[in-house]
Each structure stands twice: as structure tokens, then as C-alpha cells.
Symmetry: C4
Subunit: 199 residues, 4 copies
């Protein structure tokens, strides 16, 4: 049922995750200082790595959800489109944070707040799909399993939201929170969700 939705979503995930590389800029005319010029770009690599991880993990979890979704409707298609919108925009805040992270001061805080807001939007988009799908009985799991997974999926949202405010204290903290949440979602297998073999 969800085959074409998944294919389109996979396409957007795959493209967004691969477009991130365009934010890594080759230093021009660095001459013998190329090593240093590359090292100075570390915020680009850090932002790249965190955003890659975030998109990758969303993809894995999207995968996990739709393995259990037996029905879709038009609303779910649009909720999914909203999630894809929040995912496909990620290269922009990533580049913004990479550009201003080292600058410190106000600019780095603004850039980090935009990045945090983008993560929050993505978390809300993901949570929205899950809540809509479970409340309308589209998800073939027991109520107990759904409760467990819901707790887990919604856990990240307050942290993302808090990190918007935290951005004005420390831009680095925003990147760290995004990385930690991504790793948490990577490791925590969600109990109720076993990988379902497609027949």
C-alpha cells in the first residue's frame, strides 16, 4: 500500500542526505596552507556529520514505521510531505551553522537557533505522522507496543524545542544535543518494534 510513498520518501531522504556534501567547500588558493585551511573548516565537517546522522536515522525510523502501516489516506500523504519538507530543508540550516559556528557572538547563536528550529520542525513532523497513523488505526501493532514506541518517538521533541532557547547560550550545545538525540534513536531499538519481514 505504502510502496510509492516510501519510494518517494526514500528519494527525498537520499537526495537531502547527499546534497549535504555541497556545503563542504574546497578552499581556494590555499597553497601550502591547505592543511590548515581544511582544519579551520571543522564546523563544516561537524555540521555535515550531525545532519547526515540525523537524516539517516530519520530514514531508518521512517522505514520502521511504514513497515507497520497497513493503510494510508490523503492526510497521511500530506503529513508525510510536511516531514519531507522539514528534511529537505536541512542542508540550509546546516550550511548556516557551518558558516557562523566559529564566529561566536550573536551570529552563531542565531544560526544555531535556526538549526534547532529546523530539528524541532522535523521532530514535530515525525511525531505528527506517528500520532495520526496510530490514532486512525493504520498501524498494525498492539496498544501496548504503540504506547512504548510513542513515548520513545515523542521523547526527542522537548529536547529539540529546548535547544532553540539553548542556542542563545551556546551554539555548540545545539549541535551536541542533535548528535546525542540522533545516537539515542540509533541505539534505542524501541522495544515494541521488531523488524518485520516483508512477505
Amino acid at each position: 500500500v505504502t510502496q510509492r510513498l516510501e519510494a518517494f520518501s526514500d528519494g527525498v531522504f537520499a537526495i537531502a542526505i547527499t546534497l549535504l556534501v555541497l556545503e563542504l567547500k574546497v578552499p581556494r588558493g590555499a597553497g601550502d596552507g591547505l592543511g590548515h585551511a581544511l582544519a579551520r573548516q571543522w564546523p563544516s565537517y561537524a555540521s555535515y556529520a550531525v545532519s547526515f546522522l540525523v537524516i539517516g536515522i530519520i530514514w531508518v525510523n521512517h522505514h520502521a514505521i511504514f513497515d507497520h502501516v497497513d493503510r494510508i489516506d490523503r492526510t497521511l500523504l500530506f503529513l508525510n510531505l510536511a516531514l519531507l519538507g522539514s528534511v529537505s530543508v536541512i542542508p540550509f540550516p546546516t550550511a548556516l551553522l557551518a558558516e557562523y559556528l566559529r564566529e561566536g557572538g550573536r551570529a552563531s547563536h542565531v544560526a544555531a537557533a535556526v538549526y534547532a528550529a529546523s530539528m524541532t520542525a522535523m521532530g514535530l513532523g515525525f511525531g505528527g505522522i506517528w500520532l495520526y497513523a496510530t490514532r486512525h488505526g493504520f498501524v498494525a501493532l498492539s496498544p501496548e507496543q504503540i504506547r512504548m514506541v510513542t513515548r520513545r518517538f515523542l521523547l526527542g521533541n522537548p529536547f529539540y524545542a529546548l535547544s532553540i532557547g539553548l542556542a542563545f547560550v551556546s551554539a555548540y550545545a545545539v549541535l551536541a544535543i542533535a548528535a546525542v538525540l540522533a545516537l539515542y534513536y540509533a541505539v534505542e531499538t524501541g522495544g515494541g518494534m521488531r523488524h518485520r519481514r516483508r512477505e
Copy 2:
């Protein structure tokens, strides 16, 4: 029958929708004025959001059509290619409108007219597929259902076409019309078209 056509189309939709993000430019050297520099870019975000919505909704409707198409021929492949051409070009008028919307005067009108023309081309491409497919009996729906969906699919075209002229009155109006039509197509479920479960 339409599996590979859909896969290729999904690919083009997914890429075009994700490439839109490349038009969002990181302000360089904004320093403490980063917040303002980002705010001044609002036409980029508005154009991005509208174009994202437009491509997303075309995708949903493309999906809906080809769920009901039982046969394809070479002509339909090329009509589909024409639609994909009009879709994959959208990042260009989007960037154009983002660049000139705030400038006002003649430049903003020209940019908006190009944007409107691009929407019109897409509307015609979409309508062309639908008319060709229904007239050749490729669509497994009753005549009554087809009539209802046809009315709905062709409804946007005169508005898109009118917005080319309207562009010379107000560039903002073009963006507003595109947004309203996209939302209309998002909400209006087309009556005759139920989501068909793939067996």
C-alpha cells in the same frame, strides 16, 4: 504496467523538490546582523514554500492518476516527460522570483510572469496527461468519475494562465494564487478518486 514510469517520475519529483533548497543562500559575512539578513530573505522562504507545496501536490495527484491507469503507450511516456520537464525546471523561476520579488517595479513583474508561466506549463502538462489517458481509455474509472476529476484537474489552468497577466499588476498576487491553488488541490479530494489499494 506503470511501475518504471512511476519510479522515474518519483525520482524527478523528489530531486526537483529537494534541489529547491539550493536556492536558499547563506548570507555571507553578516556578523551580528545575521538575524536581519535572514529575515530580509523572506521572499526566498516564501517562494521555496510555495514551490515545495506545488511540486508535492503534483506528486500526490500524479500518484492518484497512475493508481488508476491500466495501460501506457509511447505518447503517454512523452506527455509524462513533458510534465517532468515543466516540474524539473521549477527551481529556476523559484530562484528568479526570490531574487526579484522584493525589488518591486518592472523586474519583480517580469520574474513573477516567468513564475506564472512555469506554473501554467505544469498545469497544461498535467492536464494533457489526464485528457490523453482518459480519451484513450487508459483510466479505469467510470465516465461519471472521469468527468468529475477532469473538471477538477482543469480548474487550475485558467487561473494559472490569468496569473501571467496579473504578474504585471502584482508579483505577490502570483505567489498567492499558486499557494491557494496548491492548497485547493491538497484539500479537495476529487470525489471520484478513492485511494485504490494496490494488490
Copy 3:
């Protein structure tokens, strides 16, 4: 058998055809002269249109071939990779031709020759797949059908090759030949190849 090969190929076709749009540049600071600035860019639109058509038609024909291919081996995978290489590079000669077409003189001839060489490479890549697949009995068509399709598929190659030389006479002629060949392949249905319904 060829499912994943087709999926990967469709991905490359879809991306290459969509990346072409990045060569369409928004004129900066054109002010009231935006209409003229856009009009002056017509070589970009012409190159875009021809390359879009070329890639689109290759996709349709690739589709047509692999509908009839019952077996693949490692060599065919690499021949296909060579074709994909020649396709995915097309945005570069397209941008080159767009940049130098109007300049006239030596630069326009060199740019057109590179474009023609790129078309030739693609034609050879396509012909190579077809000849290899038919000679090794991978194609489920009668000898008569294969002969007809072979004639047709190889027909473009001498024209592409000749257009490399012709580039030094007229850059416009190269673009015209590529467009005419694409339209020929679009219209000419190849007789022996009927669209085969996938079961």
C-alpha cells in the same frame, strides 16, 4: 532480473535530467533590464531543452530495451555503467555550450565539439549495450525484430560523430542535429519493439 539495474539507472537518469536546471542562472542585479537579461540567456534555454529531450529519450529507450532483456551479466552491468557515465556528464557540456554558443568564433566551435563528443559517447554507450545484449542472447526478440531495432539504434551514431566535425563549421548546427535525432528517436517507434506488459 534487471530490477535493481533499472532502479539505479532510473536514478541516474532522473538526477542528471534534473541537475540540468542548475545551469539556468538567475541574472543578478538586472533591475529593469531583467526581461532583456533573461532573453539574452536563450542559449541556456535551448541547450537545456535539447539536453533534457536527449536524456528523456534515452531513458524511454533504455526502458524499452530492458523490457526485453531476460538476463544480465557483469559485463552488461559495466556497459550500463559506461552509458550512465556518459549520461551523467551531460550537464557539463550543456553548460559549456550555453556559455559559449553566442560568443561565436573559436570558443563556440570548441564548446559545440565537446557537446557533440558527449552525444557521441552516449550513442556509443547505448549501441554497446544493445549489441552486447543481443549477441549474447539476452534479448527476447526474434532475429528479424532485433535486426530492425539494431538498424534504428545505430543510425544516430554516424550523425553524432559527424557533428563533432560540423561543430567547427557551426555551433548551432550541433544543437540542431542533437534535437532532430532526439525527435527522430521520439517519433520512430522502432517497429519490432512493442511495449511489453510486465506481468
Copy 4:
């Protein structure tokens, strides 16, 4: 079982391989010297060709592995994500090497070392998937076949690693080693791995 993993992976491979073309820059304002300007860019073409070949061959081998994988788990998904990360980053070291290869001296050595490190990461990512999948019995091959394929898959790794050091002797050597290893993997069919027909 591995259908969506393969689709997502194919997407990332296809996009990364196609994004490489963005590193080929059109020389601006070259006038009559366009031929020379294009010729001077040969390191771009060489890096493009080698990286295209490398990604293409990884794709073929990824294909070959997952034809034999009967089961996946969350760890394998993340190992695959790590591989995709190392693949999707390749356009960056490719552009870096293209920019600095001809410059000689320290900058070319640093650029080549980064390129070699990126190849090494990819080799490790690929080897990691294979080792994990075989040790957990996810691969439907005999122990003898697995031993043969393992030897072959791991063979490249010491060479990639050595080429990091070699980069400081000769940047060209790094490109040559990557090309030779890619061709080796292209030609060497791996004995134990026959192309398995999907039912």
C-alpha cells in the same frame, strides 16, 4: 527483505555519482583560449573518472552482496548508513584533488591524502558490512565461497590505507592506485559470487 535498504542505497549511490559532475566547472571568459582552458582542467576529468568508477563499482558490489543477504538487522542498517556516508562525501575530496593536483608541493600532497583517506573509509565501510553480515549468518553462501569473497573484498583495504602515506610522495600515485583497485574489482568476478536470479 532488503528491498527498501537497497532502494535507499541505490538512491544515494546514484545521486553521489551524478553530483560529481558539478565539480566540472565551465571556464569563464576563456574566449579563443577555450580549448586550452579545457585542457588545463584535465585533473578534474581524471578525478571525475576515477571517482565515478569507484562509486560505480561499489554499487555493483553492493548489489552483489545484497543479492545474497537474506536477513538484515538494525546494526546492518547503520553499517550500511556508514558506508553511504563515506560514499556520499566523495564529491568533496574529488573536487579537492582536482583543484590541487596540478599545483604540486605540499597542497597536492594534502589533497591526495584526504582523497586516499576517503577511499580508505569507504573500503572499511564496505568491509564492515561484509564481515558483519557473514559472521551473523545473514549471507546465503557456503563457508568456502564466503572465504573467497572475503579475501577479495578485504584486499583493497591495505592498499587504500598505504596510499594515504604515499600521498606525501606523489599525489598522482593516489589517483592511479584508486583507478587500479577499481579496475581490479571490476574485472575480478569474485569466483564464489554468481549473479543470483531474483525469483
